[in-house]
Amino acid sequence: MSSDFSPVDSSNLSRLSDKDKTELRQIMTNEEQKARVQASVHSLTDICFRKCITGTIRNGKLDKNEEGCMANCADRFVDVSHLTLKHLQNMRG
């Protein structure tokens, strides 16, 4: 895979125009944010899989109960995250 990439070193980076630099900064910010969302999804799936997929695995699909459980689990986790934040804000007074 590394053979697909041309080396990008500081001498190449210095050739970036101001306009391209600004655009790159925006793209980096977007990619960072996307990565944070992905990390949260990984963490949530980890937790909810354990809660919702119990018993033996019989096939590769989610049945209706499992599907509903995963969705509820994610939703309720977001709800409690808000509670935590609110509680912390109240503590700060």
């Binding site: 990439f5 980076l13 050739r15 793209i27 969302v37 899989f49 033996t56 699909k61 989610l62 994610a74």
Partner: protein, 80 residues
């Protein structure tokens, strides 16, 4: 290299790096969960039922991941 080329090269590498990172996280979790579920008593080799279970578990985990992703993204879009 001129600016446009440098820019697209950087973008390509950054996106690839994040994609690798994402895949690694997924693989780690699939291995952990599906080993737990499908290989409760590790033997001298993987039986064919253990292998079948593992394949089904992988598919199930990815379906679960997609469900969580859709739900989570909907919520964070709402709260903006």
């Amino acid at each position: 290299m001129e600016s446009e080329t440098v820019k697209s090269e950087v973008i390509k590498q950054v996106k690839a790096q994040y994609a690798i990172d994402n895949a690694r996280q997924l693989i780690d979790k699939v291995n952990e969960h599906c080993f737990e579920k499908c290989v409760p008593k590790p033997g001298a080799s993987l039986s064919s039922s253990e292998q079948t279970c593992f394949t089904q578990c992988m598919e199930k985990y990815m379906a679960a991941w997609n469900q969580v992703s859709a739900t989570y993204i909907r919520r964070i879009q709402q709260e903006h």
